[in-house]
C-alpha cells in the first residue's frame, strides 16, 4: 500500500519537531528516514503510524485518508526501538497477541492462531524458543520476536523505529540482510528510522535525509551519495574533511596550505573532501600544497585509515589509502607527507 504524507507538521510546546513536509512512498517500497537525533524522523514515523497526531496536513494509505483514523484501525506493523515486547508473555503469546486482540467476529480459531504463529516463528527461526520469556532472549532474538509480532497481523505497512540501533555490529548486519529478504517475501511497504547512514544506504530503495524537522533530500542511495543536494546531506552521508580559507591568486589559501582552483566555484570559501578522495604523497603537486603530519593509523578493513593533523586545519583530517600505498609509504606516527586531492565538493552556504 502506498503512503502519502502531505504538508504534515508538528510542534511540541515551543519547539517545532516537523516543519510542513510532504512525502510519497510507493507500494512495496522500502524507505529509510535518515537524520541526526532531533531531526524529526521518529516523530514523522509515529505520525504515519498514528501514535502521534499531526498539527496540520494529512496522511493517506493508498486512497484512504487515515489522518483521523485511530492507530488501532490503521493496521500498521510497528517495531519499536527497544522492541517493547510484552515482558510477562512468552514469545509465542507475544506473536499471537495481535490475532487474539481482534474482535470475536474477526478472530481466527485457536488452531489457526497456533498454526500462523508457529509458521512465523519458524520463519524467524525462533520456533525452539516459543515458550521463553523475552528477558531470556538475546537482543537479536528479541528483535526478531518484535518483527514476527508486527507481521502476525499481516500489515500492509511496516514501520520500524531504529530497528537495529541497540545491537552489536555482527548481529546488525545479519538482521539487515534478513529484513531485506522478509520485505521481498511479504511485499509490505516499509519505512524505517535510522541515524546510521550505512544502514539507510544499504537497506533502502530511497532514503529521506532529514534535519531540524525538514526533509533535506529524497533520493536513491546512489544518487544521494553521488549528488548530495546540500552541505548537510554531504557531511551526514560520510566522513568529511573541510578546507576553508581565503581566495587569492587562483588559490584557496589557509596558512601555508593551498588548493588551486578556478575563481568561479569559490563562493563559500570552503571545499569539502572525502577521505578516499585524498592521496598521500611525499611531494606536493602543482594543484595543491597540503602539508600534513600523521597522527594515527588504523590498518583495518579494505583501506588503511590515516588520521592527519596540520596547523592549517581546524579539526584533524582523515584519509583512506590503499594497503599498497601504505606498504610503499610506511606512514608512521609523526611522519610528514603531502596530500593530493583527486576531487572536492562545494556547496552554497547553509541558510538557517
Amino acid at each position: 500500500m502506498s503512503i502519502t504524507v502531505s504538508d504534515v507538521s508538528r510542534r511540541f510546546g515551543n519547539t517545532t519537531a516537523l516543519h510542513p513536509l510532504s512525502l510519497e512512498i510507493k507500494k512495496g517500497e522500502m524507505v529509510g528516514l535518515l537524520g541526526p537525533s532531533g531531526s524529526g524522523k521518529t516523530t514523522l514515523l509515529r505520525i504515519i503510524a498514528g501514535l502521534e497526531a499531526p498539527d496540520s496536513g494529512s496522511i493517506h494509505f493508498g486512497d484512504r485518508d487515515v489522518t483521523h483514523v485511530h492507530v488501532r484501525k490503521r493496521r500498521v506493523g510497528f517495531v519499536f526501538q527497544h522492541y517493547a515486547l510484552f515482558r510477562h508473555m512468552s514469545v509465542f503469546e507475544n506473536v499471537a497477541f495481535g490475532l487474539r486482540a481482534r474482535p470475536t467476529s474477526e478472530r481466527p480459531s485457536n488452531a489457526e492462531i497456533r498454526d500462523r504463529v508457529q509458521h512465523l516463528l519458524e520463519r524467524v527461526r525462533l520456533d525452539a524458543l516459543a515458550k521463553r520469556l523475552p528477558s531470556q532472549l538475546s537482543g537479536g532474538q528479541q528483535q526478531r520476536v518484535a518483527l514476527a509480532r508486527a507481521l502476525a497481523v499481516e500489515p500492509e505497512v511496516l514501520l520500524l523505529d531504529e530497528p537495529f540501533g541497540a545491537l552489536d555490529a555482527r548481529v546488525r548486519l545479519e538482521l539487515r540482510r534478513w529484513l531485506r529478504h522478509l520485505h521481498e517475501e511479504f511485499g509490505f511497504t516499509s519505512v524505517f528510522v535510522t541515524h546510521d547512514q550505512e544502514e539507510a544506504l544499504e537497506l533502502s530503495d530511497r532514503v529521506v535525509v532529514m534535519s531540524n524537522g525538514k526533509i533535506e533530500q529524497i533520493d536513491t542511495p546512489q544518487a544521494l551519495y553521488r549528488a548530495p543536494a546540500n552541505r548537510f546531506v554531504f557531511s551526514f552521508l560520510g566522513e568529511t574533511n573541510r578546507f576553508g580559507g581565503e581566495y587569492r591568486e587562483g588559490k584557496l589559501q589557509q596558512g601555508n596550505a593551498w588548493i588551486a582552483m578556478a575563481h568561479s566555484d569559490i563562493a563559500p570559501n570552503e571545499v569539502l573532501l572525502r577521505p578516499h578522495e585524498l592521496m598521500l604523497t611525499t611531494a606536493p603537486d602543482a594543484k595543491a600544497h597540503l602539508p600534513v603530519t600523521v597522527d594515527a593509523v588504523s590498518p583495518v578493513g579494505s583501506d588503511v585509515r590515516v588520521e592527519l593533523t596540520a596547523d592549517w586545519m581546524d579539526t584533524p583530517w582523515l584519509a583512506s589509502i590503499t594497503h599498497h600505498d601504505f606498504d610503499r609509504l610506511q606512514p608512521a606516527r609523526g611522519a610528514n607527507f603531502y596530500l593530493v586531492p583527486s576531487r572536492w565538493h562545494q556547496f552554497a552556504p547553509e541558510t538557517s
Partner: protein, 275 residues
Amino acid sequence: MKRIGDGAATRLGLIALAVIMTTLFLVIPLAGIFYQAFAEGLAPFWQNLTSNFTREAIGLTLLIALLTVPVNLIFGIFLAWLVTRFTFPGRRILQTLIDIPFAVSPVVAGLLYLLLYGRTGWLGSILSEHDVQLMFAWPGMVLVTIFVTCPFVARELIPLMQAQGSAEEEAGVTLGASGWTLFRRITLPNIRWALVYGVILTNARAIGEFGAVSVISGSIRGETINLPLQVELLYQDYNTVGAFTSAALLAALAIVTLMIKALLEWHTHRREETA
C-alpha cells in the same frame, strides 16, 4: 576480589546490630502482645474475643477495610495512570498533593473532616438537612480511612509505571488491542505486584487506623468502635487482657496479610522461573 567495606568485623557487626534491633523493636513487642493476651489463661482470652463488643469491633473493622480497599484500588490505578501516561499542567503539583495524607497527622485529618462534615460544618449542614449523618457514625469513619490510606496504591504504582513507560501499551495498540484489552493483558500484569503490595498496605492501614477515626467515631460502643479504638477503650477500663486480646487479633491479621503476600510472591517467582 574483596569489595570495598567488606570485612569480617564489619559484616559481623552489622549482622549483630540488625539482629539486636529486630529483636528489640519487632520480636519482643510482638511476642509481648500475645503473652499479655494469654496472661490469665485461655478462658479470659476466649471470653474477651467472643464478647459482643469485640465481635462488633471486628465487624466494623472489616467493613471499613472492605469498603476502603476497592475504592483506593480504583482511585490509585486511575491516579497513577493519569500521572504517568499524560502530561498536563499541574501534573507535578498533583503528584505532591498525593502525599498530603502521609504528611498530615491523621488526627488533623480527622479534625478537618469533623469541621467539614459535622452537623454545623460547611458540607455537613447541607447533608444534615437531608438527614444524612456522617460524623459519629461508620460512614464518616470509612470516609476518613479512605483519605488516610489513599496514597498507598498510587505511591506503589507511580514509580513502577514511570520506569516501565508506555511502549508496551503503544505496541499493543498498534496490534489492534482495545483499551480494555490493553489494560487487562498488558498494563495489569505488569503492575500486579505493585498493586498487590499497595492493597496489602492499604488494608493494613485501614484495619489499624486509630488517630483519624478516633476523632470521628465519638466512641459509641458497639457502633463506632473498631479494633484499634477497642484496644484503647479496654485498656483505659483496666481490662488489660481484653485490650491485648484485640491487639493480638490486630497483630495476627497483620501477620496473615504478610504471609499471603510472601506466599503469592514465592508462587509467581517459581512459575516465572520454570516458564
